[in-house]
């Protein structure tokens, strides 16, 4: 790895923060306000993607550290793993922004200024999480993300939303404090430690201490990643407007947790040390449990967004499982699943939102025959459902294949069975929605009434990208290469020996 001084990671964080301020002051002019959002989203994409060639060539772009606490600095750096998350989130922010504008105007929602400003702050925090070079930087942005999401969860300002917000804060703030203890403890045993592929904690303390620190950090991140039994906030937070569920509860917030787990496994402790400690096995069991149980719960949900929420919980644990396997392909699969799940799940949420705005239907049982009215939307929905279930030629297959090989590399065939079982369960809870939409007769839906164009286009884009990435995993932002690069650095083998698809 070659380190290059570069301030673009910082600008990627700042641009949406500046946009948030501009959004706040131009609240009276909706078109101007939305221009800021779009401009910042485009600007962010340009900044992030301009760093891509350098990162792919093996460089690490980092800014000069700024001291924030004695001995620890605010330090941002774009490495291969960070780029995956940053490139993903910035791309999907632009897509979601168009969708949001359509959704919020279609819904005639109040408080739109605060909504768009919070959204922009969330994206800043996400960039900060992606590019954080040490634990304290990671934590600062992690907590900013927690707080900036709160106004979005309580957006509707009714009792249900307020309760959802309370639950969300209770889970995430407690988790954040546990995480903080772990970070401060790390600071004492390994002062000023920065993320290094393969970890920096080996030999710094006794096995017992390291296991406790690992547990504290994983507890802190697993809440956002919705690992059972810490998932309680996620279905409740679905009370938020659908674009929030789509981008934050399928991409940014929950993925920040999953990304954090991979960072901790790969860059703080390292697979080698965790193999000795044995704590990652426990995490893998919990992830496997979550995958199966959440799928079972999802089958029982009639509310479409809740079903998707439980599906999200299960899919996030794929990422966690990938990390906890500690094998090269497990890590690769986990990282790539961050991308894969993001495109598929955002499509599903977009569709759910489009249905809500068009027909005000939220329950699956009400959606018989809706495919006649909204064929494109429901086609995209069905396509993404197949992707979640892991059908080939859709992006979900790539990550699941690697996860399965990664499980075999670890000599744990049981997890392959879990992956197959989960794929079948996903088929069972998502495909019927598409089936109901297209093949059940209904008198209710007979006129053609697709979603608004500014919502339909994002749906089509994300659905098409899901297929595109399923056939060419590198088609956008070289996501696969980035994941492979990061995984090979973590386990310290050359790229050629990595294997995989």
């Amino acid at each position: 790895m070659e380190f290059v001084l570069d301030y673009r990671p910082l600008w990627a964080v700042l641009i949406s923060l500046i946009a948030a301020a501009l959004i706040m002051v131009s609240g009276r002019y909706p078109n101007l306000r939305e221009t800021w959002t779009i401009a910042a989203a485009v600007g962010k994409i340009i900044i992030v993607y301009s760093m891509l060639p350098a990162v792919l060539s093996g460089q690490v772009l980092e800014m000069e550290p700024i001291d924030i606490v004695q001995g620890i600095s605010l330090h941002l750096r774009a490495d291969s793993m960070g780029m995956i998350f940053a490139a993903l989130a910035s791309l999907l922010w632009l897509v979601t922004s168009f969708y949001s504008i359509g959704y919020m105007r279609g819904d005639k929602a109040k408080h739109q200024t605060g909504y768009f400003a919070s959204f922009a702050v969330c994206l800043s925090a996400t960039m900060g999480i992606a590019f954080a070079a040490n634990l304290i930087t990671f934590f600062v942005f992690y907590e900013i993300l927690t707080i900036a999401t709160y106004p979005l969860v309580i957006h509707k300002r009714n009792q249900e939303a307020i309760n959802g917000g309370r639950k969300y804060l209770a889970y995430t703030l407690i988790a954040g404090q546990l995480f903080l203890i772990g970070i401060i403890w790390t600071q004492i045993i390994a002062p000023g430690g920065e993320f290094v592929p393969g970890g920096f904690m080996a030999g710094k303390a006794t096995a017992g201490t390291l296991s406790i620190i690992f547990t504290l950090m994983i507890l802190g991140t697993a809440v956002k990643a919705g690992v059972m039994p810490l998932h309680g906030w996620l279905p409740t937070a679905m009370v938020a407007p659908t674009p929030v569920s789509a981008l934050l509860h399928a991409v940014a917030v929950v993925k920040a947790g999953a990304f954090g787990i991979l960072r901790i496994i790969g860059y703080v402790f390292g697979p080698e040390l965790l193999n000795q400690l044995g704590v990652a096995d426990v995490l893998a069991w919990i992830a496997a449990f979550t995958i199966i149980v959440s799928s079972l719960i999802a089958m029982k949900q009639d509310h479409l967004k809740r079903r998707l929420a439980f599906s999200t919980i299960g899919q996030l644990s794929y990422v966690v499982l990938g990390g906890a396997l500690l094998t090269p392909l497990g890590l690769l699969g986990g990282m790539y699943h961050i991308v894969a799940h993001a495109f598929m799940k955002i499509t599903l949420f977009f569709c759910a939102g489009a249905i809500h705005i068009r027909t005000h239907k939220d329950y699956i049982s009400q959606m018989r025959g809706i495919g006649k009215q909204m064929p494109i939307t429901m086609a995209a929905f069905t396509l993404a459902s197949f992707g979640i279930a892991g059908f080939p030629f859709i992006v979900g297959f790539i990550s699941k294949w690697n996860l399965a090989i990664g499980a075999l590399q670890a000599g744990k065939a049981l997890y392959v069975a879990v992956l197959i079982g989960s794929a079948m369960l996903s088929t069972a809870y998502l495909i019927p929605v598409g089936y109901m939409a297209f093949f059940k007769e209904s008198t209710e839906f007979n006129s053609f009434g697709e979603a608004r164009l500014d919502m339909l286009i994002p749906i089509v884009i994300t659905a098409v990208v899901s297929v595109l990435l399923g056939i060419f995993p590198n088609a956008i932002a070289n996501f696969y290469d980035l994941a492979a690069m990061s995984a090979s650095q973590i386990v310290d083998i050359s790229l050629e020996l990595l294997g995989g698809l």
């Binding site: 001291d67 924030i68 606490v69 004695q70 934590f139 600062v140 907590e143 900013i144 927690t146 707080i147 309580i154 300002r157 307020i162 917000g165 309370r166 804060l169 703030l173 407690i174 954040g176 404090q177 546990l178 903080l180 203890i181 401060i184 403890w185 600071q187 004492i188």
Partner: protein
């Protein structure tokens, strides 16, 4: 002139206090101008002295050219210099803020208010910069007596609260006086530096033990460390809103400073009895942090909630002092600064809300965010800082405190600090929900009068500016805390220089 700056820091507000009632008879405007000018001068001199102590070295000033230990000495080191700057800064902002509150008062009330206010300021500044234990007592009484009077001016309930505070405060001051009496009896000196040299070999003397116990208890009472906090909630709740911010922001902190100064710079914290006293205080503080936070959750009145929160927050400071290691002490000192800024900001907001709506009950306050956006913005920042979320100031003092506790292997303290953050989150988010989300029901918390433009309840500029300055200050301290620690605080702890 310049060589007298240390003395003038305390004397200028004192002189202004004496002439305030007389000036008020002639001109309402002039008394306000003189008061603010006096505090501003004290603030500039404090900053100047702080700068001097950091660049040149500790500034010793001998009153009447009587060299210590015979005469009274004022000592400005980085610690006392930064405390003096903090006290005078908060005092300045609150004096500025108090204007609209006093608009309708008579000249006498106004004159007395400014007189008392300047006396408190002068007393607290004197306590901070003096190098003499008895002189410290004199300033303690100046500030305390003026505080009793100013709290009592808040109405019927305030009189009772002030009387209670007067009883407890007098007991506390007597404890302190007796304590230094014992120390004087065995060492024969009242000068801090002189006593520090003489007392080391006398540590086993019973008189010293009693002296230590009395000083610690006396300052514990004044600082309202749990369970000696009984006077505080009533006093803060019923005091005139315009001064609560000042009293809550710095008064208890100055007592905590005295505790720190006496134990670490005079007695020597490593000595057996002092160490024991500090350990006990640390555990008491830990209990106080939890109890204060739990009591704050139970409160219905916004100001009372903030008062109990103060009890918890003073626990952080004492806890850091009791840890005694570099990180813990830096955490405690940083928290003195942070809490002064945060709590002043919150009480100014509470006062502003009361002024606009006449309401203090949390449940009755709704829909304020749209009506007073800047005030509520500052409130939000202060609340998040109280919870200790990055990148606000509160996070960083918590960071140092937890670091210090872990360094000392004091796990219970780590748990207490973390638990307290979460309890803070509970009571502040409850308020945030009300201010930002709740819909107003008909006839609730209607605005009182005060000629605000329609639909807006935003405060007048004189009240708004201090609030906004403090709100921005919280973020600035958070972002710049590394500079503050490196350049000032690390020289303020014994054996400084990390």
């Amino acid at each position: 002139m310049r060589e007298h700056i240390p003395a003038l820091i305390a004397i200028i507000p004192l002189m202004a206090a004496l002439i305030a009632p007389v000036v008020a008879y002639f001109s309402m405007w002039l008394v306000r101008g003189i008061s603010i000018l006096a505090i501003l001068t004290a603030h500039i001199f404090s900053l100047n002295a702080l700068y001097h102590s950091l660049t040149v070295g500790t500034w010793h000033y001998y009153f009447g050219d009587w060299a210590p230990p015979w005469g009274i000495e004022y000592v400005i080191d980085p610690l006392s210099g930064s405390m003096a700057s903090l006290v005078s800064f908060i005092s300045l902002l609150v004096a500025f803020y108090a204007g609209p509150y006093l608009k309708d008062d008579t000249w006498l009330k106004k004159g007395i208010f400014y007189g008392l206010y300047l006396l408190i300021t002068s007393g607290l500044l004197g306590m901070v910069i003096t190098g003499d234990l008895f002189n410290l007592y004199v300033f303690l009484e100046i500030s305390s007596l003026a505080t009793y009077a100013i709290i009592a001016s808040g109405g019927r309930k305030a009189t009772v609260a002030a009387f209670r505070y007067l009883l407890i405060g007098t007991i506390a001051a007597s404890f302190y006086l007796l304590g230094i009496g014992y120390l004087y009896a065995v060492t024969g000196t009242l000068n801090m530096a002189d006593m520090a040299g003489r007392i080391q070999e006398l540590m086993s003397s019973p008189a010293v033990l009693i002296g230590i116990a009395m000083i610690v208890v006396g300052m514990g009472l004044k600082a309202a460390v749990f369970p000696m906090h009984g006077w505080l909630p009533d006093a803060y709740t019923y005091a005139p809103p315009q001064v609560t911010a000042f009293i809550a922001g710095v008064m208890t902190k100055v007592s905590a400073y005295v505790l720190f100064r006496v134990t670490f710079f005079v007695l020597g914290a490593a000595n057996g009895p002092v160490y024991a006293a500090l350990t006990v205080m640390g555990w008491i503080a830990a209990v106080g942090i939890v109890m204060g936070s739990v009591m704050a959750i139970a409160q219905k009145d916004f100001r009372r909630m903030l008062a109990y929160s103060s009890v918890a927050q003073i626990g952080y400071i004492v806890l850091g002092i009791s840890l005694g290691n570099m990180l813990g002490l830096i955490g405690a000192l940083l928290h003195i600064l942070n809490h002064a800024v945060m709590k002043s900001c919150l009480f100014l907001v509470a006062g502003g809300i009361k002024w606009r709506t006449g309401e203090h009950s949390i449940a009755k306050l709704a829909e304020l965010s749209g009506k007073m956006p800047l005030t509520m913005g500052a409130f939000l920042v202060a609340a998040l800082s109280m919870v200790g979320l990055p990148p606000t100031a509160g996070f960083f003092s918590k960071w140092y405190l937890v670091l210090g506790a872990l360094d000392a292997n004091m796990w219970p303290f780590v748990i207490v600090i973390i638990l307290s953050s979460l309890l803070n989150a509970i009571y502040f988010f409850r308020v945030i929900e009300n201010f930002f989300l709740k819909k107003r029901e008909a006839g609730e918390a209607v605005k009182r009068e005060t000629g605000a433009p329609k639909e807006s309840l935003e405060l007048p500029v004189t009240m708004l500016i201090p609030i906004v300055i403090l709100g921005i200050g919280i973020l600035a301290i958070g972002i710049l805390n590394s500079q503050i620690v490196t350049n000032i605080l690390q020289y303020s702890v014994p054996g400084g220089g990390l």
